[in-house]
Symmetry: C2
Protein backbone atom coordinates (compact mmCIF):
# COMPACT_ATOMS: atom_id res chain seq x y z
CA UNK A 1 0.00 0.00 0.00
CA UNK A 2 1.43 3.35 -1.02
CA UNK A 3 1.94 5.70 1.93
CA UNK A 4 2.19 9.45 2.31
CA UNK A 5 5.55 9.81 3.99
CA UNK A 6 9.08 11.06 3.56
CA UNK A 7 11.73 8.92 5.22
CA UNK A 8 10.36 6.09 7.39
CA UNK A 9 12.84 6.72 10.20
CA UNK A 10 11.57 10.29 10.66
CA UNK A 11 7.94 9.28 10.31
CA UNK A 12 6.87 9.72 13.91
CA UNK A 13 8.82 12.92 14.57
CA UNK A 14 7.38 14.53 11.42
CA UNK A 15 3.87 13.35 12.26
CA UNK A 16 4.16 14.78 15.76
CA UNK A 17 5.32 18.11 14.33
CA UNK A 18 2.29 18.11 12.04
CA UNK A 19 -0.02 17.23 14.90
CA UNK A 20 1.37 20.05 17.02
CA UNK A 21 0.87 22.51 14.18
CA UNK A 22 -2.78 21.50 13.95
CA UNK A 23 -3.23 21.60 17.73
CA UNK A 24 -1.24 24.53 19.09
CA UNK A 25 -2.49 24.05 22.67
CA UNK A 26 -0.39 20.88 22.87
CA UNK A 27 3.31 21.29 23.70
CA UNK A 28 6.26 18.97 23.21
CA UNK A 29 8.92 18.66 25.86
CA UNK A 30 12.19 19.60 24.17
CA UNK A 31 14.21 16.58 23.07
CA UNK A 32 11.68 14.16 24.58
CA UNK A 33 8.83 12.16 23.04
CA UNK A 34 6.45 13.79 25.50
CA UNK A 35 3.34 15.80 24.59
CA UNK A 36 1.83 17.82 27.42
CA UNK A 37 -0.43 20.75 28.09
CA UNK A 38 0.21 23.63 30.44
CA UNK A 39 -1.91 23.36 33.54
CA UNK A 40 -2.25 26.07 36.09
CA UNK A 41 -4.40 24.35 38.69
CA UNK A 42 -2.06 22.65 41.16
CA UNK A 43 -4.85 20.84 42.95
CA UNK A 44 -5.56 18.55 39.99
CA UNK A 45 -3.71 15.20 39.95
CA UNK A 46 -1.97 14.93 36.56
CA UNK A 47 -2.68 11.77 34.55
CA UNK A 48 -0.25 10.33 32.02
CA UNK A 49 -0.43 7.55 29.47
CA UNK A 50 1.58 6.40 26.49
CA UNK A 51 2.83 3.58 24.36
CA UNK A 52 4.09 2.74 20.92
CA UNK A 53 3.18 4.83 17.89
CA UNK A 54 0.88 3.68 15.12
CA UNK A 55 -2.32 4.07 17.17
CA UNK A 56 -2.95 7.76 16.47
CA UNK A 57 -4.75 9.77 17.78
CA UNK A 58 -3.79 7.72 20.89
CA UNK A 59 -2.34 8.93 23.10
CA UNK A 60 -1.22 12.48 22.20
CA UNK A 61 -4.69 13.42 20.92
CA UNK A 62 -6.10 12.86 24.41
CA UNK A 63 -3.79 15.36 26.08
CA UNK A 64 -5.68 18.42 27.24
CA UNK A 65 -7.61 19.82 30.17
CA UNK A 66 -10.09 17.21 31.38
CA UNK A 67 -8.12 14.22 30.07
CA UNK A 68 -4.36 13.54 30.09
CA UNK A 69 -1.69 15.94 31.31
CA UNK A 70 0.95 14.25 29.18
CA UNK A 71 1.44 11.38 26.73
CA UNK A 72 4.74 9.64 26.06
CA UNK A 73 5.13 8.04 22.64
CA UNK A 74 7.56 5.41 21.39
CA UNK A 75 8.59 4.26 17.96
CA UNK A 76 6.13 2.32 15.80
CA UNK A 77 4.52 -0.36 18.01
CA UNK A 78 7.36 0.00 20.56
CA UNK A 79 6.74 1.65 23.94
CA UNK A 80 8.81 4.62 25.13
CA UNK A 81 11.72 3.97 27.47
CA UNK A 82 11.66 3.90 31.26
CA UNK A 83 13.72 7.09 31.34
CA UNK A 84 11.27 8.91 29.06
CA UNK A 85 8.31 7.91 31.21
CA UNK A 86 10.17 9.00 34.33
CA UNK A 87 10.90 12.35 32.69
CA UNK A 88 7.18 12.79 31.98
CA UNK A 89 6.28 11.92 35.57
CA UNK A 90 8.77 14.46 36.90
CA UNK A 91 7.52 17.07 34.43
CA UNK A 92 3.81 16.85 35.27
CA UNK A 93 4.18 16.32 39.02
CA UNK A 94 3.05 19.35 40.97
CA UNK A 95 3.71 17.86 44.37
CA UNK A 96 0.58 15.79 44.79
CA UNK A 97 1.70 12.83 42.74
CA UNK A 98 0.92 11.43 39.30
CA UNK A 99 -1.52 8.83 38.00
CA UNK A 100 -0.64 6.56 35.03
CA UNK A 101 -2.88 4.61 32.64
CA UNK A 102 -0.99 1.64 31.16
CA UNK A 103 -2.12 -0.72 28.38
CA UNK A 104 -1.71 -4.39 29.21
CA UNK A 105 1.21 -5.44 27.02
CA UNK A 106 4.32 -7.01 28.49
CA UNK A 107 6.70 -4.39 27.10
CA UNK A 108 4.49 -1.49 28.21
CA UNK A 109 4.02 -2.85 31.71
CA UNK A 110 7.75 -3.33 32.11
CA UNK A 111 8.79 0.24 31.29
CA UNK A 112 5.90 1.87 33.14
CA UNK A 113 6.47 -0.19 36.27
CA UNK A 114 10.18 0.58 36.24
CA UNK A 115 9.52 4.29 35.79
CA UNK A 116 6.92 4.29 38.57
CA UNK A 117 9.36 2.48 40.85
CA UNK A 118 12.08 5.05 40.15
CA UNK A 119 9.69 7.97 40.62
CA UNK A 120 8.59 6.62 43.97
CA UNK A 121 12.23 6.42 45.00
CA UNK A 122 12.37 10.16 44.27
CA UNK A 123 9.39 10.59 46.60
CA UNK A 124 6.92 11.27 43.83
CA UNK A 125 3.76 9.34 44.71
CA UNK A 126 2.59 7.47 41.61
CA UNK A 127 -0.38 5.17 41.24
CA UNK A 128 -1.63 3.46 38.10
CA UNK A 129 -4.27 1.35 36.45
CA UNK A 130 -3.79 -1.32 33.79
CA UNK A 131 -6.21 -1.29 30.88
CA UNK A 132 -7.01 -4.86 29.76
CA UNK A 133 -10.29 -4.58 27.88
CA UNK A 134 -9.63 -7.01 25.00
CA UNK A 135 -11.94 -10.03 25.33
CA UNK A 136 -10.77 -11.84 22.17
CA UNK A 137 -9.18 -15.25 22.60
CA UNK A 138 -5.88 -16.73 21.54
CA UNK A 139 -6.75 -19.82 19.49
CA UNK A 140 -3.13 -21.00 19.63
CA UNK A 141 -3.17 -21.01 23.42
CA UNK A 142 -6.22 -22.90 24.71
CA UNK A 143 -8.58 -20.08 23.84
CA UNK A 144 -7.19 -17.90 26.62
CA UNK A 145 -8.68 -14.43 26.80
CA UNK A 146 -6.03 -12.02 25.58
CA UNK A 147 -6.75 -9.10 27.94
CA UNK A 148 -4.71 -6.65 25.85
CA UNK A 149 -5.26 -2.92 26.32
CA UNK A 150 -7.34 -1.61 23.42
CA UNK A 151 -9.71 1.30 22.72
CA UNK A 152 -11.33 0.92 26.14
CA UNK A 153 -8.17 2.63 27.41
CA UNK A 154 -9.58 5.89 26.05
CA UNK A 155 -12.64 5.59 28.29
CA UNK A 156 -10.21 5.41 31.22
CA UNK A 157 -8.53 8.57 29.92
CA UNK A 158 -11.86 10.39 29.82
CA UNK A 159 -13.45 9.13 33.01
CA UNK A 160 -10.34 9.46 35.17
CA UNK A 161 -9.43 12.77 33.51
CA UNK A 162 -12.80 14.22 34.44
CA UNK A 163 -12.58 12.77 37.94
CA UNK A 164 -9.15 14.36 38.45
CA UNK A 165 -10.50 17.65 37.12
CA UNK A 166 -13.28 17.26 39.67
CA UNK A 167 -10.75 17.05 42.50
CA UNK A 168 -10.25 13.27 42.92
CA UNK A 169 -7.18 12.34 44.98
CA UNK A 170 -4.51 9.91 43.85
CA UNK A 171 -6.09 7.16 45.97
CA UNK A 172 -9.53 7.93 44.62
CA UNK A 173 -8.23 7.73 41.05
CA UNK A 174 -6.72 4.33 41.81
CA UNK A 175 -9.98 3.01 43.23
CA UNK A 176 -12.04 4.46 40.39
CA UNK A 177 -9.57 3.24 37.76
CA UNK A 178 -9.80 -0.31 39.01
CA UNK A 179 -13.58 -0.10 39.20
CA UNK A 180 -13.84 1.11 35.61
CA UNK A 181 -11.16 -1.09 34.05
CA UNK A 182 -12.91 -4.25 35.25
CA UNK A 183 -16.17 -3.11 33.63
CA UNK A 184 -14.78 -2.49 30.13
CA UNK A 185 -14.67 -4.98 27.29
CA UNK A 186 -13.54 -4.48 23.68
CA UNK A 187 -13.68 -6.68 20.62
CA UNK A 188 -13.25 -5.84 16.95
CA UNK A 189 -12.79 -7.07 13.42
CA UNK A 190 -10.70 -6.14 10.39
CA UNK A 191 -11.34 -6.21 6.64
CA UNK A 192 -7.70 -5.50 5.88
CA UNK A 193 -4.50 -5.99 7.85
CA UNK A 194 -2.34 -2.94 8.56
CA UNK A 195 0.77 -2.12 6.51
CA UNK A 196 3.93 -0.78 8.06
CA UNK A 197 4.43 2.64 6.42
CA UNK A 198 5.73 2.15 2.90
CA UNK A 199 5.47 -1.66 3.05
CA UNK A 200 3.77 -3.51 0.21
CA UNK A 201 2.85 -6.58 2.24
CA UNK A 202 0.33 -6.34 5.09
CA UNK A 203 1.23 -7.54 8.59
CA UNK A 204 -0.96 -10.65 8.28
CA UNK A 205 -2.63 -12.31 5.30
CA UNK A 206 -6.31 -11.49 4.76
CA UNK A 207 -7.93 -12.05 1.37
CA UNK A 208 -10.27 -9.54 -0.26
CA UNK A 209 -13.77 -10.29 0.99
CA UNK A 210 -12.64 -11.88 4.26
CA UNK A 211 -12.72 -10.57 7.79
CA UNK A 212 -10.73 -11.45 10.86
CA UNK A 213 -12.49 -11.28 14.25
CA UNK A 214 -10.60 -10.37 17.42
CA UNK A 215 -7.60 -8.68 15.80
CA UNK A 216 -5.06 -6.76 17.87
CA UNK A 217 -3.73 -3.26 17.22
CA UNK A 218 -0.20 -4.27 16.18
CA UNK A 219 -1.05 -6.46 13.23
CA UNK A 220 -2.00 -9.49 15.34
CA UNK A 221 -4.44 -11.83 13.60
CA UNK A 222 -7.83 -12.53 15.13
CA UNK A 223 -9.37 -15.75 16.41
CA UNK A 224 -11.39 -16.52 13.29
CA UNK A 225 -11.31 -15.60 9.60
CA UNK A 226 -14.51 -15.90 7.58
CA UNK A 227 -16.07 -14.49 4.43
CA UNK A 228 -17.86 -11.20 5.09
CA UNK A 229 -21.56 -11.26 4.32
CA UNK A 230 -23.05 -8.17 5.96
CA UNK A 231 -22.63 -5.45 8.57
CA UNK A 232 -25.45 -7.08 10.54
CA UNK A 233 -23.51 -10.34 10.74
CA UNK A 234 -20.45 -8.46 12.05
CA UNK A 235 -22.56 -6.74 14.68
CA UNK A 236 -24.15 -10.05 15.64
CA UNK A 237 -20.80 -11.76 16.29
CA UNK A 238 -19.50 -8.77 18.27
CA UNK A 239 -22.64 -8.44 20.41
CA UNK A 240 -22.60 -12.16 21.08
CA UNK A 241 -19.03 -12.04 22.39
CA UNK A 242 -19.84 -9.01 24.55
CA UNK A 243 -22.94 -10.76 25.89
CA UNK A 244 -20.88 -13.80 26.89
CA UNK A 245 -18.50 -11.50 28.72
CA UNK A 246 -21.04 -9.34 30.54
CA UNK A 247 -23.96 -11.80 30.93
CA UNK A 248 -26.17 -8.73 31.10
CA UNK A 249 -29.79 -8.47 32.20
CA UNK A 250 -32.51 -6.42 30.55
CA UNK A 251 -32.44 -2.67 31.30
CA UNK A 252 -28.78 -2.69 32.33
CA UNK A 253 -26.96 0.49 31.38
CA UNK A 254 -23.78 0.61 29.26
CA UNK A 255 -21.49 3.14 27.62
CA UNK A 256 -20.74 2.37 23.94
CA UNK A 257 -17.56 3.37 22.12
CA UNK A 258 -17.22 2.44 18.44
CA UNK A 259 -13.65 2.85 17.28
CA UNK A 260 -12.52 3.19 13.66
CA UNK A 261 -9.33 1.12 13.59
CA UNK A 262 -7.80 3.25 10.85
CA UNK A 263 -9.33 3.47 7.40
CA UNK A 264 -13.00 2.59 7.68
CA UNK A 265 -15.12 5.03 5.68
CA UNK A 266 -17.63 7.25 7.48
CA UNK A 267 -20.56 5.70 5.66
CA UNK A 268 -19.60 2.12 6.57
CA UNK A 269 -18.91 3.06 10.17
CA UNK A 270 -22.36 4.66 10.45
CA UNK A 271 -24.08 1.58 8.97
CA UNK A 272 -22.29 -0.62 11.50
CA UNK A 273 -23.17 1.72 14.40
CA UNK A 274 -26.80 1.37 13.39
CA UNK A 275 -26.57 -2.44 13.47
CA UNK A 276 -24.76 -2.55 16.81
CA UNK A 277 -27.22 -0.13 18.43
CA UNK A 278 -30.21 -2.07 17.09
CA UNK A 279 -28.92 -5.35 18.48
CA UNK A 280 -28.08 -3.87 21.89
CA UNK A 281 -31.56 -2.36 21.97
CA UNK A 282 -33.08 -5.75 21.17
CA UNK A 283 -31.13 -7.14 24.12
CA UNK A 284 -33.06 -4.66 26.23
CA UNK A 285 -29.98 -2.66 27.16
CA UNK A 286 -30.00 1.03 27.87
CA UNK A 287 -27.15 2.95 26.17
CA UNK A 288 -27.17 6.52 27.47
CA UNK A 289 -23.81 7.43 25.90
CA UNK A 290 -22.49 6.57 22.44
CA UNK A 291 -19.17 7.80 21.09
CA UNK A 292 -17.86 7.03 17.59
CA UNK A 293 -14.69 7.94 15.72
CA UNK A 294 -10.98 7.26 15.67
CA UNK A 295 -9.59 6.65 19.15
CA UNK A 296 -7.08 3.80 18.99
CA UNK A 297 -6.08 2.92 15.43
CA UNK A 298 -3.70 0.40 13.95
CA UNK A 299 -2.02 2.31 11.12
CA UNK A 300 -4.09 1.83 7.91
CA UNK A 301 -6.10 -1.19 9.04
CA UNK A 302 -9.71 -1.16 7.86
CA UNK A 303 -11.89 -2.35 10.71
CA UNK A 304 -13.85 -1.40 13.78
CA UNK A 305 -13.69 -2.26 17.46
CA UNK A 306 -16.60 -2.05 19.87
CA UNK A 307 -16.15 -1.19 23.53
CA UNK A 308 -18.82 -1.50 26.17
CA UNK A 309 -18.48 -0.26 29.72
CA UNK A 310 -21.07 -1.28 32.28
CA UNK A 311 -22.36 1.90 33.90
CA UNK A 312 -22.25 1.03 37.59
CA UNK A 313 -22.15 4.64 38.75
CA UNK A 314 -24.27 7.38 37.17
CA UNK A 315 -21.54 9.91 37.92
CA UNK A 316 -19.53 8.30 35.11
CA UNK A 317 -22.02 9.83 32.69
CA UNK A 318 -21.23 13.29 34.03
CA UNK A 319 -17.54 12.51 33.61
CA UNK A 320 -18.11 11.46 29.99
CA UNK A 321 -20.11 14.57 29.23
CA UNK A 322 -17.71 16.93 31.00
CA UNK A 323 -15.87 19.40 28.77
CA UNK A 324 -12.32 18.59 27.67
CA UNK A 325 -9.74 20.39 25.57
CA UNK A 326 -8.23 17.15 24.27
CA UNK A 327 -8.47 17.39 20.46
CA UNK A 328 -9.30 13.75 19.71
CA UNK A 329 -12.18 13.21 22.16
Amino acid sequence: MTSILNTPHQLKSQAIQGYLKAHPKLKKLKGQPIIYHQTTDETIIPIISGGGSGHEPAHSGFVGEGMLSAAIYGQLFIPPTTEQILTAIRHVNKGKGVFAIVKNFEADLKVFQEAIHLARKENIPVKYVVSHDDISVDTKNNFQVRHRGLAGTILLHKLLGAAAQNGASLDELETLGLQISTQIATIGFALTAPHLPGAIEPLFPLKEGQISYGIGIHGEEGYRTVTLSSSEELANEIVNKLKLRFRWREHERFILLVNNLGTTSELEQAVFVNDICQLLELEGLNIPFVKTGKFMTSLDMKGISVTLCRLIDEQWLDYLNAATQAPAW
Copy 2:
Protein backbone atom coordinates in the same frame (compact mmCIF):
# COMPACT_ATOMS: atom_id res chain seq x y z
CA MET B 1 -12.93 -3.36 -2.07
CA THR B 2 -15.02 -5.18 0.53
CA SER B 3 -17.47 -2.90 2.29
CA ILE B 4 -19.26 -3.01 5.62
CA LEU B 5 -22.88 -2.77 4.53
CA ASN B 6 -26.14 -4.66 4.33
CA THR B 7 -28.22 -3.93 1.23
CA PRO B 8 -26.80 -1.15 -0.96
CA HIS B 9 -30.21 0.46 -1.54
CA GLN B 10 -30.70 1.03 2.19
CA LEU B 11 -27.12 2.18 2.71
CA LYS B 12 -27.79 5.85 3.30
CA SER B 13 -30.91 5.41 5.43
CA GLN B 14 -29.10 2.90 7.67
CA ALA B 15 -26.03 5.13 7.89
CA ILE B 16 -28.18 8.10 8.88
CA GLN B 17 -29.87 6.03 11.59
CA GLY B 18 -26.43 5.07 12.89
CA TYR B 19 -25.26 8.67 12.81
CA LEU B 20 -28.35 9.83 14.72
CA LYS B 21 -27.76 7.15 17.36
CA ALA B 22 -24.23 8.44 17.87
CA HIS B 23 -25.36 12.08 17.88
CA PRO B 24 -28.68 12.29 19.73
CA LYS B 25 -28.82 16.09 19.53
CA LEU B 26 -29.46 15.78 15.79
CA LYS B 27 -33.03 15.10 14.67
CA LYS B 28 -34.43 13.74 11.42
CA LEU B 29 -37.59 15.19 9.94
CA LYS B 30 -40.03 12.29 9.62
CA GLY B 31 -40.13 10.81 6.13
CA GLN B 32 -37.68 13.39 4.82
CA PRO B 33 -33.91 13.25 4.20
CA ILE B 34 -33.49 16.26 6.44
CA ILE B 35 -31.31 16.43 9.55
CA TYR B 36 -31.91 19.42 11.81
CA HIS B 37 -31.40 20.61 15.33
CA GLN B 38 -33.95 22.25 17.57
CA THR B 39 -33.25 25.93 17.93
CA THR B 40 -35.00 28.14 20.39
CA ASP B 41 -33.58 31.53 19.49
CA GLU B 42 -35.85 33.05 16.86
CA THR B 43 -33.49 35.94 16.16
CA ILE B 44 -30.88 33.72 14.53
CA ILE B 45 -31.14 33.29 10.75
CA PRO B 46 -31.16 29.54 10.03
CA ILE B 47 -28.59 28.26 7.55
CA ILE B 48 -29.09 25.14 5.44
CA SER B 49 -26.87 23.14 3.13
CA GLY B 50 -26.96 19.76 1.48
CA GLY B 51 -26.11 17.62 -1.47
CA GLY B 52 -25.52 14.03 -2.51
CA SER B 53 -24.36 11.42 -0.04
CA GLY B 54 -20.92 9.84 -0.03
CA HIS B 55 -19.20 12.90 1.46
CA GLU B 56 -19.80 12.15 5.14
CA PRO B 57 -19.57 13.86 7.61
CA ALA B 58 -20.80 16.56 5.14
CA HIS B 59 -23.34 17.91 5.55
CA SER B 60 -25.29 16.29 8.43
CA GLY B 61 -22.24 16.36 10.72
CA PHE B 62 -22.20 20.15 10.53
CA VAL B 63 -25.73 20.58 11.82
CA GLY B 64 -25.77 22.06 15.30
CA GLU B 65 -25.83 25.35 17.14
CA GLY B 66 -23.23 27.66 15.63
CA MET B 67 -23.22 26.01 12.20
CA LEU B 68 -26.14 24.65 10.11
CA SER B 69 -29.76 24.53 11.21
CA ALA B 70 -30.49 21.71 8.75
CA ALA B 71 -28.85 19.55 6.09
CA ILE B 72 -30.68 17.84 3.25
CA TYR B 73 -29.06 14.70 1.85
CA GLY B 74 -29.61 12.90 -1.42
CA GLN B 75 -28.71 9.45 -2.66
CA LEU B 76 -25.08 8.59 -3.35
CA PHE B 77 -23.57 11.50 -5.34
CA ILE B 78 -27.08 12.73 -6.28
CA PRO B 79 -28.48 15.92 -4.74
CA PRO B 80 -31.81 15.93 -2.89
CA THR B 81 -34.93 17.03 -4.76
CA THR B 82 -36.32 20.55 -5.06
CA GLU B 83 -39.30 19.52 -2.93
CA GLN B 84 -37.05 18.18 -0.15
CA ILE B 85 -35.01 21.38 -0.06
CA LEU B 86 -38.22 23.43 0.00
CA THR B 87 -39.47 21.32 2.92
CA ALA B 88 -36.25 22.05 4.80
CA ILE B 89 -36.55 25.79 4.12
CA ARG B 90 -40.12 25.80 5.42
CA HIS B 91 -39.11 23.76 8.45
CA VAL B 92 -36.25 25.97 9.64
CA ASN B 93 -37.82 29.33 8.75
CA LYS B 94 -38.80 31.24 11.86
CA GLY B 95 -40.11 34.27 10.00
CA LYS B 96 -36.84 36.05 9.31
CA GLY B 97 -35.85 34.03 6.28
CA VAL B 98 -33.31 31.31 5.52
CA PHE B 99 -29.76 31.28 4.17
CA ALA B 100 -28.49 28.44 1.93
CA ILE B 101 -24.94 27.28 1.16
CA VAL B 102 -24.80 25.49 -2.20
CA LYS B 103 -21.89 23.60 -3.74
CA ASN B 104 -21.15 24.56 -7.34
CA PHE B 105 -22.35 21.53 -9.30
CA GLU B 106 -24.93 21.85 -12.06
CA ALA B 107 -27.39 19.40 -10.48
CA ASP B 108 -27.07 20.99 -7.02
CA LEU B 109 -27.51 24.53 -8.31
CA LYS B 110 -30.61 23.52 -10.24
CA VAL B 111 -32.52 22.02 -7.31
CA PHE B 112 -31.44 24.66 -4.80
CA GLN B 113 -32.35 27.53 -7.12
CA GLU B 114 -35.76 26.00 -7.85
CA ALA B 115 -36.44 25.47 -4.15
CA ILE B 116 -35.34 29.02 -3.33
CA HIS B 117 -37.57 30.37 -6.09
CA LEU B 118 -40.58 28.44 -4.74
CA ALA B 119 -39.87 29.50 -1.15
CA ARG B 120 -39.72 33.14 -2.18
CA LYS B 121 -43.11 32.72 -3.87
CA GLU B 122 -44.36 31.63 -0.43
CA ASN B 123 -42.93 34.86 0.96
CA ILE B 124 -40.05 33.18 2.74
CA PRO B 125 -37.00 35.38 2.15
CA VAL B 126 -34.10 33.15 1.09
CA LYS B 127 -30.58 34.19 0.15
CA TYR B 128 -27.68 31.93 -0.73
CA VAL B 129 -24.00 31.63 -1.53
CA VAL B 130 -22.36 29.26 -3.99
CA SER B 131 -19.23 27.51 -2.85
CA HIS B 132 -16.75 27.13 -5.74
CA ASP B 133 -13.38 26.64 -4.09
CA ASP B 134 -11.89 23.96 -6.40
CA ILE B 135 -8.92 25.44 -8.28
CA SER B 136 -7.98 22.28 -10.19
CA VAL B 137 -8.18 22.39 -13.96
CA ASP B 138 -9.97 20.31 -16.57
CA THR B 139 -7.26 19.08 -18.92
CA LYS B 140 -9.90 17.94 -21.43
CA ASN B 141 -11.33 21.44 -21.67
CA ASN B 142 -8.55 23.98 -22.32
CA PHE B 143 -7.33 23.79 -18.74
CA GLN B 144 -10.38 25.59 -17.45
CA VAL B 145 -10.54 25.99 -13.69
CA ARG B 146 -13.23 23.62 -12.42
CA HIS B 147 -14.66 25.78 -9.63
CA ARG B 148 -16.48 22.86 -8.03
CA GLY B 149 -17.62 23.13 -4.42
CA LEU B 150 -15.24 21.12 -2.23
CA ALA B 151 -14.10 21.10 1.42
CA GLY B 152 -13.94 24.90 1.47
CA THR B 153 -17.72 24.71 1.74
CA ILE B 154 -17.26 23.67 5.38
CA LEU B 155 -15.45 26.93 6.14
CA LEU B 156 -18.55 28.71 4.85
CA HIS B 157 -20.68 26.57 7.18
CA LYS B 158 -18.54 27.56 10.16
CA LEU B 159 -17.95 31.24 9.40
CA LEU B 160 -21.51 32.00 8.36
CA GLY B 161 -22.92 29.81 11.14
CA ALA B 162 -21.00 31.80 13.74
CA ALA B 163 -21.98 35.08 12.09
CA ALA B 164 -25.66 34.07 12.19
CA GLN B 165 -25.29 33.06 15.83
CA ASN B 166 -23.78 36.50 16.37
CA GLY B 167 -26.92 38.15 15.00
CA ALA B 168 -26.06 38.72 11.33
CA SER B 169 -29.07 39.54 9.14
CA LEU B 170 -29.95 37.70 5.94
CA ASP B 171 -28.40 40.51 3.88
CA GLU B 172 -25.28 40.50 6.03
CA LEU B 173 -24.92 36.75 5.57
CA GLU B 174 -25.18 37.18 1.81
CA THR B 175 -22.49 39.87 1.76
CA LEU B 176 -20.22 37.91 4.08
CA GLY B 177 -20.81 34.67 2.17
CA LEU B 178 -19.74 36.26 -1.08
CA GLN B 179 -16.72 37.85 0.57
CA ILE B 180 -15.58 34.53 2.03
CA SER B 181 -16.37 32.29 -0.94
CA THR B 182 -14.16 34.36 -3.23
CA GLN B 183 -11.24 34.01 -0.80
CA ILE B 184 -11.29 30.21 -0.55
CA ALA B 185 -9.31 27.80 -2.70
CA THR B 186 -9.05 24.02 -2.45
CA ILE B 187 -6.91 21.46 -4.23
CA GLY B 188 -6.15 17.85 -3.39
CA PHE B 189 -4.70 14.54 -4.45
CA ALA B 190 -5.63 10.87 -4.22
CA LEU B 191 -3.60 7.68 -3.80
CA THR B 192 -6.63 5.51 -4.52
CA ALA B 193 -9.89 6.15 -6.34
CA PRO B 194 -13.14 5.67 -4.42
CA HIS B 195 -15.27 2.53 -4.73
CA LEU B 196 -19.04 2.61 -4.83
CA PRO B 197 -20.12 0.58 -1.78
CA GLY B 198 -19.65 -3.12 -2.51
CA ALA B 199 -18.03 -2.49 -5.91
CA ILE B 200 -14.79 -4.27 -6.76
CA GLU B 201 -13.64 -1.76 -9.37
CA PRO B 202 -12.74 1.80 -8.35
CA LEU B 203 -14.39 4.78 -10.03
CA PHE B 204 -11.25 5.63 -12.01
CA PRO B 205 -8.06 3.71 -12.70
CA LEU B 206 -5.09 4.54 -10.48
CA LYS B 207 -2.22 2.10 -10.14
CA GLU B 208 -0.57 1.25 -6.82
CA GLY B 209 2.16 3.82 -6.23
CA GLN B 210 0.56 6.53 -8.35
CA ILE B 211 -1.24 9.69 -7.34
CA SER B 212 -3.78 11.83 -9.14
CA TYR B 213 -3.68 15.62 -8.50
CA GLY B 214 -6.84 17.71 -8.60
CA ILE B 215 -9.38 14.91 -8.11
CA GLY B 216 -13.05 15.66 -7.47
CA ILE B 217 -15.23 14.21 -4.74
CA HIS B 218 -17.42 11.99 -6.98
CA GLY B 219 -14.72 9.82 -8.47
CA GLU B 220 -13.58 12.42 -11.02
CA GLU B 221 -9.95 11.98 -12.09
CA GLY B 222 -7.46 14.75 -11.52
CA TYR B 223 -5.44 16.82 -13.95
CA ARG B 224 -2.23 14.81 -13.65
CA THR B 225 -1.21 11.30 -12.62
CA VAL B 226 2.36 10.69 -11.52
CA THR B 227 4.36 8.26 -9.40
CA LEU B 228 4.35 9.22 -5.75
CA SER B 229 7.77 9.94 -4.31
CA SER B 230 7.20 11.71 -0.99
CA SER B 231 4.82 13.69 1.17
CA GLU B 232 7.03 16.73 0.65
CA GLU B 233 6.56 16.48 -3.12
CA LEU B 234 2.78 16.34 -2.68
CA ALA B 235 2.88 19.40 -0.45
CA ASN B 236 5.08 21.22 -2.93
CA GLU B 237 2.68 20.70 -5.85
CA ILE B 238 -0.32 21.72 -3.73
CA VAL B 239 1.36 24.85 -2.35
CA ASN B 240 2.49 25.83 -5.82
CA LYS B 241 -1.06 25.65 -7.18
CA LEU B 242 -2.37 27.65 -4.24
CA LYS B 243 0.37 30.23 -4.71
CA LEU B 244 -0.59 30.68 -8.37
CA ARG B 245 -4.18 31.22 -7.30
CA PHE B 246 -3.57 33.66 -4.44
CA ARG B 247 -0.34 35.38 -5.59
CA TRP B 248 0.27 36.06 -1.92
CA ARG B 249 2.78 38.44 -0.35
CA GLU B 250 4.92 37.76 2.68
CA HIS B 251 3.13 38.05 6.05
CA GLU B 252 -0.31 37.60 4.55
CA ARG B 253 -2.70 35.72 6.84
CA PHE B 254 -4.58 32.55 5.85
CA ILE B 255 -6.82 29.92 7.39
CA LEU B 256 -5.73 26.34 6.63
CA LEU B 257 -8.07 23.35 6.43
CA VAL B 258 -6.56 19.94 5.68
CA ASN B 259 -9.27 17.46 4.73
CA ASN B 260 -8.94 13.68 4.85
CA LEU B 261 -10.80 12.59 1.70
CA GLY B 262 -11.82 9.29 3.24
CA THR B 263 -9.30 6.67 4.26
CA THR B 264 -5.99 8.41 4.87
CA SER B 265 -4.38 7.16 8.06
CA GLU B 266 -3.82 9.55 10.97
CA LEU B 267 -0.06 9.15 10.79
CA GLU B 268 0.15 9.95 7.06
CA GLN B 269 -2.17 12.92 7.45
CA ALA B 270 -0.01 14.33 10.22
CA VAL B 271 3.18 13.92 8.17
CA PHE B 272 1.54 15.78 5.28
CA VAL B 273 0.26 18.56 7.59
CA ASN B 274 3.82 19.06 8.75
CA ASP B 275 5.05 19.40 5.15
CA ILE B 276 2.27 21.80 4.12
CA CYS B 277 2.80 23.99 7.19
CA GLN B 278 6.56 24.08 6.66
CA LEU B 279 6.20 25.20 3.05
CA LEU B 280 3.60 27.86 3.87
CA GLU B 281 5.92 29.10 6.60
CA LEU B 282 8.80 29.29 4.14
CA GLU B 283 6.54 31.39 1.90
CA GLY B 284 6.40 33.84 4.80
CA LEU B 285 2.69 33.31 5.38
CA ASN B 286 1.02 33.60 8.73
CA ILE B 287 -1.44 30.77 9.50
CA PRO B 288 -3.30 31.64 12.71
CA PHE B 289 -5.84 28.82 12.34
CA VAL B 290 -5.28 25.21 11.26
CA LYS B 291 -8.01 22.58 11.19
CA THR B 292 -7.46 18.94 10.20
CA GLY B 293 -9.74 15.93 9.91
CA LYS B 294 -12.59 14.53 7.85
CA PHE B 295 -14.85 17.26 6.52
CA MET B 296 -15.81 16.42 2.93
CA THR B 297 -14.93 12.86 1.97
CA SER B 298 -15.39 10.84 -1.16
CA LEU B 299 -16.42 7.40 0.11
CA ASP B 300 -13.28 5.30 0.68
CA MET B 301 -10.86 7.40 -1.39
CA LYS B 302 -7.38 7.69 0.12
CA GLY B 303 -6.20 11.25 -0.31
CA ILE B 304 -6.11 14.73 1.13
CA SER B 305 -7.35 18.14 0.05
CA VAL B 306 -5.93 21.43 1.21
CA THR B 307 -8.06 24.54 1.59
CA LEU B 308 -6.72 28.04 2.17
CA CYS B 309 -8.87 31.04 2.96
CA ARG B 310 -7.30 34.48 2.86
CA LEU B 311 -8.07 36.17 6.17
CA ILE B 312 -9.25 39.60 5.09
CA ASP B 313 -11.18 40.26 8.30
CA GLU B 314 -9.84 39.37 11.74
CA GLN B 315 -13.39 38.77 12.96
CA TRP B 316 -13.36 35.58 10.87
CA LEU B 317 -10.92 34.14 13.41
CA ASP B 318 -13.43 34.75 16.20
CA TYR B 319 -16.05 33.02 14.07
CA LEU B 320 -13.77 30.02 13.55
CA ASN B 321 -12.98 29.78 17.25
CA ALA B 322 -16.59 30.26 18.37
CA ALA B 323 -18.20 27.26 20.07
CA THR B 324 -20.43 24.98 18.02
CA GLN B 325 -22.46 21.87 18.81
CA ALA B 326 -21.98 20.43 15.31
CA PRO B 327 -20.40 16.99 15.88
CA ALA B 328 -18.02 16.97 12.90
CA TRP B 329 -16.33 20.38 13.39
